[in-house]
């Protein structure tokens, strides 16, 4: 609960600071739409990475005597990599369409 309170307070603070600095703060709905699209892109990359990783693990196991554990994919680094992939791809696509 503390984490939610902290994140809520910093979000509120940032929103108020924006408003005071005179920036147009309308369009929160459209911004949320963009955030959902970004989160969706990151999720797609994560799912693709896990699926491809599992395919490689099973492929190596069946085509050779070498054993690779599927639990190698249970690593937070893959989530961060997917996040980076998603952000780069999302921004790139926006630049091209904008």
């Amino acid at each position: 609960m503390l984490l939610l309170v902290v994140a809520g307070m910093t979000s509120l603070g940032a929103g108020l600071a924006l408003r005071r600095s005179g920036v147009d703060t309308r369009g929160l709905g459209a911004t949320l739409g963009e955030v959902f699209a970004l989160a969706g892109t990151v999720t797609l990359f994560y799912l693709a990475n896990v699926t491809l990783g599992l395919g490689i693990v099973l492929g190596v196991r069946s085509l050779s005597s070498h054993f690779i554990s599927a639990y190698l994919l249970d690593d937070s680094s893959l989530l961060v990599l997917s996040l980076l992939q998603g952000v780069v791809f999302f921004c790139w696509r926006r630049r091209r369409s904008g």
Binding site: G33, F36, L38, G40, T41, V42, T43, F67, D74
Partner: protein
């Protein structure tokens, strides 16, 4: 994929994140997919490989927890045999050997310990342990396994002819306390679902 679909996926991800991290949803999901069952007397306690051996040569936390649970069950008399599994990884010693050493140091007689250090998967463990226990006519086993993998392991061992009861290798961890633990648990459950699907397709369950 259309933008609306990607947005819907993103919305699901964000809602799922909040549900997982800040509600007991994942605890409930785990209880549904791997219900707790009371330990039952058996002819052998089987501790499945998990986590392996750390670079320093000792057992990893997960492996140590499972091993200690197996030793505890043995000392309480749930079964007269303790089977310790776990393969070697790279140049490190086999997990099963390190576990057996610990069990002997904690008072389990060497004659009551069997090891399997060649199996890398649950299916291989089921086959290897059947080969170990068949000559002793052992049929009823008490399987020590981490909660998310409980059902798959239980079914894989039943499939090769054992009567299986299970015990959690991390008892007390069922009530998860912080958001990070819950997110980790969700990831484990996801991997376990993929593993179950694979075992079904391969006919191991």
């Amino acid at each position: 994929m259309g933008r609306t679909l990607i947005q819907a996926l993103g919305a699901c991800t964000i809602v799922g994140f909040f549900l997982t991290a800040f509600t007991p949803a994942v605890d409930l999901l785990e209880r549904l997919t791997a219900p707790e069952e009371p330990a039952q007397r058996a002819e052998a306690i089987v501790v499945l490989g998990v986590g392996g051996v750390a670079p320093g040569g000792g057992l990893t936390d997960r492996s140590l927890r499972a091993t200690l649970e197996g030793i505890r069950l043995y000392r309480e008399g749930w079964a007269p045999l303790l089977v310790l599994s776990g393969a070697a990884s790279g140049s490190r010693r086999a997990e099963a050997e390190v576990r057996a050493e610990l069990a002997r140091q904690l008072g389990v007689p060497a004659s009551s310990i069997l090891t399997l250090s060649t199996a890398n998967t649950t299916r291989d463990e089921a086959l290897g342990i059947r080969a170990l226990l068949e000559p002793r006519a052992v049929r009823r086993i008490l399987l020590v396994v981490e909660a998310p993998a409980r059902m798959r392991a239980s079914e894989a061992f039943s499939r090769v002819g054992f009567q299986v009861a299970t015990a959690s290798s991390n008892p007390g961890a069922a009530v998860l306390r912080n958001p990070e633990d819950r997110l980790h648990e969700l990831k484990q459950l996801g991997l376990e679902l993929a593993a179950r699907a694979y075992y079904r397709v391969m006919g191991y369950l």
